[in-house]
């Protein structure tokens, strides 16, 4: 198993803090108006495609209902979140982490290979053979880094009225401001889904070594 590079480790933990604060303050913001719409506009139940449940105080930031304080947190953490994501992408391309460990080859997309990987996961066999990550892992990390996280930034910009005079084309591409808001919510929960599975698999695959390696990088002799 190759060591995790310094840039990967710094990004991993700072991103965790950012995403947790953004998610929990986002739940408060969701509580302010618990309906989602498609298109440019929407404000009433008959226009909504989803009625979102009210999130209880223990899972929101702050731990009581304050849209203003939640927005303060959300607006603050958006900066390190977006800048660190940019940093991670630059680092990943420069140190070839992306090409070497995350990008998939055509061979890996063969149904037989995917089936074998799924089967191995179901048997809780996490042996990667020679590579750092298996196919499903590469796919998950690639989608999270390449789609879910960047979409949080883009849909966030799309909701912001002060950005729209410059990024109106992006809002149009998403189908309007309320669509951008809906997508912001959907990608937030896709990320939450990834978080749950990721933590579960770390627990199954040996949490002590996994967490230690993401802090220290891992043993040199294993490299």
């Amino acid at each position: 198993m190759k060591r995790h590079s310094f840039s990967t480790r710094v990004w991993h933990w700072s991103n965790l803090v950012c995403v947790v604060v953004l998610f929990m303050s986002g739940l408060t913001i969701s509580n302010a108006h618990r309906r989602l719409y498609w298109g440019d506009w929407g404000f009433a139940p008959e226009q909504a495609w989803l009625e979102v449940p009210r999130f209880p105080d223990w899972m929101t930031i702050p731990g009581y209902y304050s849209l203003a304080v939640a927005r303060d947190w959300h607006i603050l953490m958006a900066w390190p979140f977006a800048l660190m994501l940019l940093f991670m992408w630059v680092a990943m391309l420069v140190n070839r982490h992306f090409k070497r460990d995350i990008a998939t080859s055509r061979k890996e997309w063969k149904p037989a290979n995917i089936a074998a990987d799924v089967k191995a996961h179901l048997k809780l066999d996490f042996d990667h053979g020679g590579g750092k990550y298996n196919f499903l892992q590469k796919l998950a990390y690639g989608v999270v880094l390449g789609v879910f996280l960047p979409m949080m930034v883009f849909t966030g910009i799309g909701i912001s009225p002060g950005m729209e005079p410059t990024f109106g084309w992006m809002v149009d591409l998403m189908g309007g401001r309320q669509s951008a808001r809906s997508l912001h919510f959907i990608f937030a929960f896709l990320l939450f889904g990834f978080f749950v599975v990721h933590v579960l698999l770390v627990l199954l695959a040996g949490p002590f070594r996994q967490i230690r390696d993401m802090i220290t990088g891992g043993r040199r002799d294993e490299a």
């Binding site: 731990g63 849209l67 603050l76 401001r177």
Partner: protein
């Protein structure tokens, strides 16, 4: 159940930690500063004249939601509403050379701008409507701002939860071409719930900046001595961001 309990405890502990940060001096300064970073980034990326999107008439929402004050009962507002706002005056005052006091007729006779724009509430919803009225810049130029003027304060007739509503913007947003004093919504005089007889449109910011029931436009050098000094009703009351372009 056990796992749920653990999650709740972990969540609550994290929340408590965040609250501690927010309550600390450095923490609250940082939270306040982030608003300025966004404003700076928006101003850097966006031309000061750049327009918020305008829509075709076909995009107008079937009705326009009202929020905050929707039927003020304080002072002489109900009496004014009963007489169709025939004696409503809009003052332009403060740091200006020629203070003005305008009737609704005066305002209707100025050159008008009609814009079909989207109204975004801080809560998250949006509605589209066609707004008509003179650009604020016309009124400010007629009153002639003094060089010390840095902000424009909007005074309102409605008293919400015991405090008079007000809002403020800087001169960039005050002189923005889409910043108008609206008296028509979708071609009709403003409904009471949407701010009759006059409301501001500050199209690149969230709804709470668009002061309704407008009685005066005041040029000031600083916001410190107005209300609780945060620049607006919700800013004073709940700590909402003064720059509401986010």
């Amino acid at each position: 159940m056990k796992r749920r309990g653990f999650l709740a405890v972990a969540g609550a502990a994290f929340v408590a930690g965040c609250n501690k940060v927010a309550e600390s001096n450095a923490g609250s300064k940082l939270l306040g500063a982030a608003e300025k970073w966004h404003q700076g980034a928006h101003r850097l990326l966006t031309n000061r004249e750049a327009l918020a999107p305008e829509y075709p008439k076909s995009a107008i929402s079937p009705y326009f939601r009202g929020n905050g004050s929707t039927d003020p009962q304080n002072g002489d507002y109900p009496a004014q509403a009963a007489e169709g706002f025939a004696n409503w005056r809009l003052e332009v005052r403060g740091l200006v050379e020629n203070p003005l006091s305008l009737s609704l007729d005066n305002i209707r006779k100025l050159p008008q701008r009609t814009q079909v724009t989207r109204h975004d509430c801080v809560e998250g919803w949006s509605a589209i409507g066609a707004w008509t009225g003179p650009q604020l810049s016309l009124l400010l130029d007629a009153a002639k701002l003094r060089p010390e003027a840095k902000f424009i304060v909007f005074r309102c007739a409605d008293n919400l939860n015991g405090q008079d509503y007000y809002e403020s913007v800087d001169l960039i947003d005050a002189y923005h071409p889409q910043t108008i004093v609206a008296h028509l919504l979708n071609g009709e005089p403003l409904p009471v719930k949407n701010g009759a007889p006059l409301r501001m449109r500050i199209e690149r910011q969230l709804g709470y900046k668009h002061a309704k029931y407008l009685t005066a436009i005041e040029a000031v050098a600083s916001l410190d001595d107005i209300g609780k000094g945060q620049g607006g009703y919700w800013e004073d009351r709940s700590g909402y961001q003064w720059y509401a372009g986010i």
